[in-house]
């Protein structure tokens, strides 16, 4: 089923929100880190993994999800959170370590939790798979048609948790979709140096579930593949494994010298930017107008500005609050 005009516009807005949010964070992150870069200084200390270039996977998938469906992300999870509808202000505030953040400043950029929107993520590679299985198991026990999506990078598909989870989900026919973002790199290690087969989707065979490879970093291709898998899961037909080719524009984290990466790789990737291509395609098909898309982009610009502003202005938590919330 093709996306409606409304959905297309929402996808475009989400895509821009992600792109602009990540670009804004890349700038804010450098505040207070010059002339000498110190990871522990500045407005936002700590590691920063950004998802610019990887918008299609998150947006194309989450277009099929509702409030009751679960998404579990990774260390690079801003795009998933935004596509799942996590409040941008609360998320930005968390990334700034502020009291008003999703986790009151306790979690931070790699540990975003929004139980209302059924979103979570983790800084441990491969941790999304089992947790998504659990959400799917709960949906099944509650006899709901909710689904769970585990996102992870191609590097994570070499963890034991990936294989254990696929078997468990297949065995129990869980309504879960495993989506691998193949951005070709796990920090400095190329996929060809870490993975014995070209496509992780091939690994589905071992567990008797469908495996789909999406060869283009493209919103509509992801939309189609994810739509089919999610419909299957909702109808009780069990899990699907999807691998999507995608592109990482920034370094693994900001400050990554990227000595391992061919110099012009990012430049050539950007020449085929997925957002521009998406917009061209849907305009050419007569589904939307340029003016409509520009309006979505403006909305995104405003939302990102407001979120960063909100995060900046919010207060830090009080030191003693560090001792709260170890237990419920």
């Amino acid at each position: 089923m093709a996306p409606s005009t409304e959905q297309l516009l929402e996808m475009d807005r989400q895509a821009w929100t992600i792109r602009l949010f990540e670009e804004a964070l890349a700038q804010v992150y450098m505040e207070g880190k010059s002339p000498a870069f110190d990871i522990g200084s500045g407005t936002i200390p700590g590691e920063m993994h950004l998802s610019a270039g990887q918008e299609p996977v998150a947006v194309g998938t989450c277009a099929h999800l509702g409030q009751e469906d679960t998404v579990v992300g990774t260390h690079r999870a801003h795009h998933f959170a935004i596509a799942k509808g996590v409040d941008l202000k609360e998320m930005a505030a968390e990334i700034f370590g502020k009291e008003t953040g999703l986790g009151k400043g306790k979690g931070g950029h790699m540990h975003l939790f929004d139980p209302k929107r059924k979103f979570s993520c983790s800084g441990i590679v491969g941790a999304s798979f089992p947790v998504a299985c659990g959400a799917a198991l709960a949906a099944k026990k509650k006899e709901k048609d909710w689904v769970a999506v585990a996102f992870a990078g191609e590097g994570a598909a070499n963890e034991g948790s990936f294989h254990e989870s696929l078997n468990l989900a297949a065995l129990w026919k869980l309504p879960v979709i495993f989506i691998i973002e193949d951005n070709a790199w796990a920090i400095s290690v190329a996929k060809s140096k870490s993975t014995a087969i070209p496509y992780n989707s091939q690994r589905a065979v071992a567990y008797g579930i469908p495996g789909v490879r999406v060869e283009k970093n493209d919103f509509l291709s992801v939309y189609d593949a994810a739509g089919e898998a999610i419909a299957r899961a909702r109808h009780g037909e069990g899990p699907t494994l999807i691998e999507v080719k995608t592109d990482r524009y920034f370094g693994h984290f900001i400050g990554d010298p990227e000595l391992y990466r061919p110099k012009d790789e990012v430049k050539s990737l950007k020449a085929a930017d997925p957002i521009g291509q998406f917009e061209q395609t849907i305009i050419a098909k007569g589904l939307v107008s340029r003016a409509q898309l520009d309006k979505e982009r403006e909305t995104a610009v405003k939302a990102v500005d407001e979120a960063i502003e909100f995060a900046r202005k919010s207060p830090y938590p009080k030191s003693e609050e560090a001792l709260e919330h170890v237990f419920a």
Binding site: F37, D38, I39, G40, S41, I44, P45, G46, E47, E94, G97, K98, G103, G105, K106, G107, G108, H109, M110, H111, S122, G123, I124, V125, G126, G155, A156, N158, E159, G160, S161, A186, I187, S188, V189, K193, S194, T195, G255, L259, Y260, Y316, P317, K318, S319, E320, E321, A322, L323, V326
Partner: protein
């Protein structure tokens, strides 16, 4: 002068590994991003170009497989050095470490030797939050069968690394990120010191008195050594002379050094960047109670992370990790 050159801790570790790899063909390195990247914290920098991908092996993100493989290869006479990028990730491979690497020698009645060095990064204070900032050496010291090394300076790091590689037992070698002398993370200048080019070893189980003093003993390791030394400088201006003892290894532990210092100062403060509960600080306090009780003029004081995960936000993180000021304050209250 060439024998007076100073190195960062990362460079000292890489040099130690390099010298041992030249000396012994059985030594090789496995881990995530240890090749072109040179280790995320620089512990294997320059080794790939020197020894090639057959001996400096980038691995898939499959810690159970490659850390378990170190055990298997060591049983066959190899001497693997294997890197777990952050100690916090031990959860995905703990069975291979705890139930196999640590115990196989014992369960074989001593017939199996496992000369594995497992290197891993520890420490917080730079905003990396609950899953990337822990120390956790106490968890590993708790299980019998693992030697535990935690250096605080480049000189110690090199000697302890060579000792670790030559040891016929599993050695866990914890390097604090903030001590590696990285271009992108603040580090105490003191961690960079003179490192001889020649090969040398530092025996395990020998604590180092990093600063002699008469009024109070501060037992610590890794980053806390530097915080304690900074605190000691402040205290000295106030007329309190603190003795700072760097344990350097937890297993084996230099109990004698701790006791000897207590006999001298009669006061003990243990400072630890690991969790307070059930850990290093409790262990040292127990040794003091067991073996030096009559020499203590005051109850032992412990300063450590107060049994909460490391929070992300800066004011929270700074509150839970012992600071120079907190150490000085604890020492003051004890010395009074």
């Amino acid at each position: 002068m060439s024998n007076e050159r100073e190195l960062t801790m990362a460079k000292a570790i890489a040099e130690a590994i390099s010298q041992e790899m030249e000396r012994d063909q059985h030594v090789f390195v496995m881990g995530e991003d240890v090749g072109v990247y040179g280790g995320i914290f620089g512990a294997t920098q320059g080794l790939l170009s020197k020894f090639g991908p057959e001996r400096i092996m980038d691995t898939p993100i499959s810690e159970t497989a490659f850390i378990g493989a170190a055990t298997g290869a060591a049983a066959e006479g190899m001497r693997p050095i294997v890197e777990l990028m952050f100690v916090d990730f031990f959860g995905v491979c703990m069975d291979q470490i705890y139930n196999h690497l640590a115990k196989n020698t014992y369960m074989s009645g001593g017939n199996l030797h496992l000369p594995v060095v497992l290197t891993t990064a520890i420490g917080g204070g730079y905003g990396d939050a609950a899953q990337h900032s822990q120390c956790l050496y106490s968890v590993f010291a708790h299980t019998p069968g693992l030697k535990i090394v935690v250096p605080s300076t480049a000189y110690d790091a090199k000697g302890l690394m060579i000792e670790a590689i030559r040891d016929d037992n599993p050695v866990m070698y914890f390097f604090h990120k903030g001590l590696m002398g990285l271009g992108w993370m603040r580090y105490p200048e003191r961690s960079v010191n003179v490192v001889p080019e020649r090969s040398y070893t530092i025996p395990f189980g020998k604590a180092d008195v990093k600063r002699p003093g008469t009024d109070i003993t501060i037992v610590c390791l890794a980053m806390m050594v530097h915080c304690a030394l900074d605190a000691a400088e402040k205290l000295s201006k106030e007329g309190i002379e603190a003795e700072v003892i760097d344990l350097r290894t937890l297993v084996p532990l230099d109990r004698e050094a701790v006791i000897a210092s207590i006999k001298k100062t009669h006061k003990l403060l243990v400072v630890d960047e690991d969790y307070l509960g059930f850990g290093l600080s409790g262990e040292i306090a127990a040794i003091a109670a067991d073996e030096a009780f009559e020499y203590l003029d005051a109850p032992v004081k412990r300063l450590a992370v107060p049994n909460v995960p490391i929070p992300y936000s800066q004011p929270l993180e700074q509150f839970v990790i012992p600071s120079v000021e907190a150490i000085a304050e604890a020492a003051r209250s004890l010395a009074r």
